[in-house]
């Protein structure tokens, strides 16, 4: 954690002066702005309708009840969306990692001829693309509309993640290690599986999580590609129809969930869809940060 160790620290002068105090105060304020909205929504989701309608709920549940959550777990269509999201996220992450490794390993080897051309072919897609409509027509022509593959395949290659992985492999694996393996007669596959991958665990964890979080949170492609198969709607799209559209028209999509006050239901659906990420987050945070920095410092 080099970043948190900081640069300007002067060790023998660690007393807290007035500026240190003001800076900490500012940071705490900003942190609270990031945190309090969640706490409010969680409190709302655990409160009873009457207190929410009376605008009595701020940062602590009033009239504690888990009624709304019971209704969510009783709704087959929400659970179905959760299931779709989990399946799609797992497939997407595995495929994304395979593609990234298959591209990054050869491109990080100096002896690989044609490296520049192939790198350009990959990175060009970061700056230029067909755009929404040609992508849409492509998915349509490939017959992927209204299938989960439309959510798994198209985005599974990420030039950005490739760049991070490639940088990490180029600088992170000692050349001498690879050379001694070659002298012992190991081929590229053997080197990749026995040396490079085991040594790249942190960066692989980071990218896997990038892929997973990105897939978990996306809803644009589902909005475009999942038109008729309502049973294939991932959680975020479901949420979009349930919560965002409902806040315009105040009409809920046809589900079994019915509450006298939709605010409590909406709050609990939001918490329900956020919880998986929030559970993983504290454990993986350090990997995320390390991974981003690996890509950043050496660029």
């Amino acid at each position: 954690m080099k970043a948190t160790a900081g640069g300007s620290a002067v060790p023998h002068k660690a007393r807290i002066d007035i500026w240190e105090f003001l800076i900490r105060l500012a940071i705490i304020l900003v942190s609270l702005i990031c945190l309090l909205p969640f706490i409010h929504v969680v409190s709302k989701s655990l409160s009873s309708d009457s207190f929410v309608i009376a605008n009595k709920v701020f940062l602590w549940p009033q009239g504690f009840t888990i009624e709304a959550y019971k209704k969510i777990f009783a709704d087959a269509s929400i659970l179905r969306s959760l299931y779709i999201t989990v399946i799609v996220t797992v497939l997407f992450t595995i495929l994304g990692m395979i593609l990234t490794i298959c591209a990054a390993y050869p491109l990080s080897r100096a002896q690989f001829k044609g490296r520049r051309v192939i790198t350009f072919i990959f990175l060009f897609t970061m700056y230029f693309s067909g755009g929404i409509i040609p992508d849409y027509m492509n998915i349509n022509n490939l017959g992927l509309m209204d299938t989960i593959w439309s959510l798994v395949l198209p985005l599974s290659f990420s030039a950005f993640n490739l760049l991070i992985m490639k940088t990490s492999l180029t600088h992170g694996i000692p050349v001498s290690l690879e050379e001694s393996a070659r002298i012992d007669g190991a081929g590229h596959f053997r080197i990749l599986f026995s040396i490079v991958l085991p040594l790249s665990k942190p960066i692989m964890a980071t990218l896997a999580l990038f892929y997973a979080v990105g897939r978990w949170n996306a809803y644009q492609d589902a909005l475009f590609y999942i038109k008729h198969e309502i049973s294939l709607r991932p959680l975020q799209l479901k949420l979009y129809y349930l919560v965002i559209q409902a806040s315009e028209s105040f009409q809920l999509e046809a589900t079994q969930v019915q509450l006298s006050n939709p605010e409590v239901l909406k709050a609990s659906v939001v918490v329900f869809a956020t919880l998986p990420i929030l559970c993983v987050y504290p454990f993986v945070q350090k990997y995320f940060v390390q991974g981003v920095m690996l890509g950043a410092v050496k660029e």
Partner: protein, 318 residues
Amino acid sequence: MKIASASKTNQSPLLRRKQGFAYYLQRDWQLYLLVMLPLAFVIVFKYLPMTGLVIAFKDYKIARGFWGSEWVGMEVFQELFAKADFIKAVRNTLLLNVLDLCFSFTMPIVLALLLNEVKSIRFKRINQTILYLPHFLSWVIIGAIAYQLLSEGGGVVNNLIELMGGTRIPFLQEDNNWLISYLAIGVWQSMGWGTIIYLAAMSGINPEMYEAATVDGAGRWRKVWNITLPSIRATIVTLLIMALGKVMDGSFERIYALQNKATTEFTTTIPVLVYRWGIESGNFSRATAIGLFQSVIGIILVISADRVAKKLGEDGIL
């Protein structure tokens, strides 16, 4: 033994002879085999759609298909530039993204400078964990939270304003307020995460520079101004160039999750228009043309920003 000798050739450029490509293909066939899979993916899902851009120059009829549709040259573009909606979308896209650039780009720098000044590592870590949090939420969830917090009827922010004797403000239900809320929510979502890259750059600064400055009598602000900021200048420029390329783009998901029927003035942007014209109304030619327009402007902006940066003595990204 073949591999060992190959690596030897590779190591000593003096001994290296010019070899045909077939030689390398044979020597490193495993590497070429590996790269085939992602290459196939990129071709199918990135380059194949690019051929679809030609329908921006055609009168695309689904019944006649991609090849059967008639060429119309620049007609679609001429029609496009005459549309009031298009002009509005370009204006809004520029407006939203330039304002976003002003706030969402600068806040992480300020925040990173503040975090870098804090000496307690524990304090820093706890706050960083909290600050990164909004980055991990989808725009749907952020939109939902925004409505829960900011709605005029039952939003907690308005409840507080009323409690303190103020009048309720329609944060998301009136055009100008919506614009401000949109920007503020963008800052909220991205500022913490944006600090990572700057903090990484700051961690690379040689501590001796600060020590030397302290000996010379420099105060806290002097050190920030003369050491920290210049040290992260390259990072700032790189990120700025990349951000400039997106000035004609913008997140569809963000606008779509925050928009509502009461605020249409600023929500008509290029991505939204592409969706509306293309996927909702099936006017593929026009929607493709607007997408192409946006990509081309984006690439021109990146290249020119890169040139300017290089003229000014920075590294640039290309």
